[in-house]
């Protein structure tokens, strides 16, 4: 019983990492005033490029790789996914910041293009459009000392990817950058009142560009983690709407990086329940699809103001006419 729960928490850590990193990306973008519903697409690009990167940097020179082996191969693969996510996000930045296209339109296009681009890249990388080759190189898994030796429940802290700890610790640099650095203050003010920001001599467009690129990088890293570390292969459709769940977590957190941790873990745990606790009679009596719906339902309830209140950044989604300056 407790062992099952430990397993559920272990799987929840994996989902948490994907949701938190992507949600944090969305947080940077939306806090700067750019609504980003293209997170799912940016994550998709991260899955396929991260998987390829890990193969390319790890496998031997004879097999057409760079032969860096462990652990540099997978690490560079993850970073490659991150870079490609940022590169892909530059389309969103170009459309919304430079050309001041409606953010939702651009986000929808990003998501549509990502599906096709991922298939295209996959057929270039792997010679097949919908999945990677077997034998995905990944980082070796970690057991947390002490915690993993807790009887039964300790399973929660076994076999974790090192990237999970990146997800757990990312809040510190994020909070520091957003709330302690001048850049973070400017970024947040660009999302609340770009006119005031501009009047203080701060150029809004570069800030927003940087924020959108960061969001792409984080979503790309989350995607690369999903393919390289969490599932061990790239497969079409493996993001399963996690980008939208990240968006839901972001809303539930009220655009706050600390509260985003709680929201991401909550939704991550909801994803893990049907997968890991299916031999609990209570869980088995509920169709798994209803458990999977919970993040979306919670978000609608919160948005409608039935429980609590959330307030998005004031200028998010609005075109700023001084956009090119």
């Amino acid at each position: 019983m407790l062992g099952d729960l430990g397993y559920a928490v272990q799987v929840a850590f994996t989902y948490y990492t994907v949701i938190y990193l992507t949600g944090l990306g969305g947080l940077f973008s939306e806090r700067s005033g750019i609504v980003n519903i293209g997170l799912e697409g940016m994550m998709i690009i991260g899955t396929v490029t991260g998987s390829f990167g890990a193969f390319y940097f790890t496998s031997a020179v004879a097999d057409g790789g760079l032969g860096l082996g462990q652990p540099w191969g997978p690490i560079l693969g993850l970073l490659f996914g991150m870079a490609c996510g940022a590169a892909f996000a530059s389309i969103h930045a170009l459309a919304t910041v430079t050309f001041r296209i409606d953010h939702i339109v651009s986000g929808v296009v990003i998501n549509l293009v990502a599906v096709g681009l991922a298939r295209f890249l996959s057929s270039v990388f792997f010679g097949q459009a919908t999945q990677s080759d077997p034998g995905q190189p990944h980082l070796s898994l970690i057991d947390v000392p002490l915690l993993s030796s807790i009887p039964q429940f300790g399973r929660a802290f076994e076999n974790l990817s090192p990237v999970v700890f990146v997800g757990l610790l990312a809040v510190f640099p994020a909070v520091y950058v957003l709330y302690r650095l001048r850049w973070g203050l400017r970024l947040r003010s660009a999302g609340e009142n770009p006119e005031a920001t501009r009047s203080l001599g701060v150029r809004v467009a570069p800030l927003r560009w940087q924020a959108v690129l960061i969001s792409g990088a984080l979503a790309g890293l989350a995607g690369a983690f999903l393919s390289v570390e969490a599932t061990g292969h790239w497969r079409e459709g493996q993001t399963q709407g996690l980008g939208f769940i990240s968006l839901a977590a972001l809303i539930l957190s009220n655009w706050n990086p600390r509260r985003l941790m709680a929201a991401a873990f909550l939704f991550g745990f909801a994803q893990a329940i049907p997968l890991t606790l299916d031999n609990w009679p209570i869980i088995r009596s509920i169709p798994p699809q209803f458990v999977n719906m919970t993040p979306y339902i919670v978000t609608i309830v919160v948005l409608a103001g039935f429980v609590g209140r959330v307030r998005p950044p004031a200028a998010a989604g609005k075109a700023y006419e001084g956009g090119s300056t």
Binding site: V105, F120, I245
Partner: protein, 394 residues
């Protein structure tokens, strides 16, 4: 910005009437978008060591010269017309219905339920009942974000994104539960799906009327989509609701001052949108498959957004945009057969096209607006120049 330094316009262009300038600008923007998208696509083709002209010719020819080509194009366009119309009607009032995806999934569920459980309804009446249930399902699902928006202010973009996620799970649940097949063929491991629908529930084939084969499954849903487009055109241009919608979309404050109930208009538009969205899935379940399978074609709601933009939210434009989309989709097969370029190139091309169309239109709109401002300024200038010729502001 560069426009600040622009020299004062001496001879303002005022010969052309406004609607003509507007129309020419739109056509120009569209052509420019196509040229840019095709040029960017050509770069990828060249990287593959192929001739872009050959590749584009292959894509285009496949829809016209190969047997049944046009029928395939129209069959692909059918669901896209419905979904793009659903998006566009909301957009008239500045509402963004990203929930067409979820609404069409729910429409497929209610239609499948009607086809399987109301099979006592005789003759072609069953088909119309099924279509009605599809629309009602989409409508009911669209009512949720509409009411939430009007009553609580929850933004429709976010609520519909969430409802899309819920709809995917609903279909998964229904196919595992209430709508799961009852008697799979013995000895076969079939994918999850519903039972086959009764023949009366299906939409009859249209292709054979024009001498096409059975393959493309071109059905009477295509003319129905055209009729829907004409009705929507009529509603938007000629009916009170269309006027109110455009008023709300253009200036909500003025519309309210003019006595229009904004919430009422928004709910009505969302319901119409949902009714159209409900019909999006009918081509695949009532014409292609005759049942609702687990691996149904998704993303049609999102593609509808792209098609709506390509068609400039104009119902007639949407028909052509959907056909263009169909031609490109058909071209995937052509690429696979005739070139070394991966077939997914077409999806990239579609994405490029949408991006360039959206951006060029936006820039054209701004240019027009600037020119109007300049024309007005120039007219004022003439008056100013007459009185004080030495001090022309730059």
């Amino acid at each position: 910005m560069a426009s600040v330094a622009a020299p004062p316009v001496v001879a303002a262009p005022r010969a052309l009437p406004g609607w003509l300038t507007n129309g020419l600008a739109q056509i120009g923007a569209l052509l420019l978008a196509f040229v840019i998208a095709l040029a960017l696509g050509a770069v990828i083709v060249v990287l593959y060591g192929e001739n872009p002209l050959d590749v584009y010719a292959a894509i285009f020819k496949f829809s016209f010269t190969i047997t049944d080509g046009p029928a395939y194009v129209m069959a692909v366009a059918t669901p896209l017309i419905f979904s793009a119309l659903a998006v566009s009607i909301c957009f008239k009032a500045g509402l963004f219905n990203i929930g067409v995806e979820g609404q069409f999934l729910v429409g497929m569920l209610t239609a499948a339920w009607a086809a399987l459980y109301l099979d006592f309804i005789p003759g072609p009446l069953l088909m119309w009942t099924v279509l009605l249930f599809a629309s009602l399902g989409g409508m009911a699902y669209a009512a949720i974000p509409a009411v939430l928006k009007v009553k609580t202010g929850a933004h429709e973009v976010v609520t519909t994104i969430m409802l899309n996620g819920i709809a995917v799970s609903l279909v998964g649940w229904a196919l595992n539960g209430p709508l799961k097949f009852t008697n799979p063929p013995p000895g076969q491991n079939v994918d999850l799906r519903t039972d086959p629908f009764p023949r009366n529930a299906l939409v009859p084939d249209l292709g054979h009327v024009f001498g096409f084969g059975k393959g493309p499954n071109l059905s009477w849903l295509f003319p129905l989509a055209i009729v829907a487009a004409i009705i929507i055109w009529f509603v938007v241009k000629r009916m009170r609701l269309g006027f109110e919608a455009r008023a709300v979309g253009a200036a909500a404050g003025s519309a309210r001052a003019g006595g229009i109930s904004i919430g009422g208009v928004q709910i009505k538009l969302f319901l119409i949108s949902g009714a159209l969205a409900g019909l999006v899935g009918m081509q695949q379940i009532l014409a292609d498959q005759g049942l609702l399978p687990k691996n149904y074609i998704a993303q049609l709601g999102f593609t509808g957004i792209a098609v709506a933009f390509l068609g400039r939210n104009n119902p007639i434009g949407i028909i052509f945009a959907a056909l263009i989309w169909g031609i490109l989709a058909r071209g995937e097969t052509a690429l696979q057969i005739e070139t070394d370029v991966p077939r997914e190139f077409v999806i990239i091309l579609q994405g490029l096209l949408i991006l360039t169309v959206v951006i060029t239109y936006e820039l054209a709109k701004r240019r027009l607006a600037r020119r109007q401002v300049r024309t007005a300024a120039a007219e004022e200038l003439i008056v100013t120049v007459e009185s004080a010729p030495e001090e022309v502001p730059t």
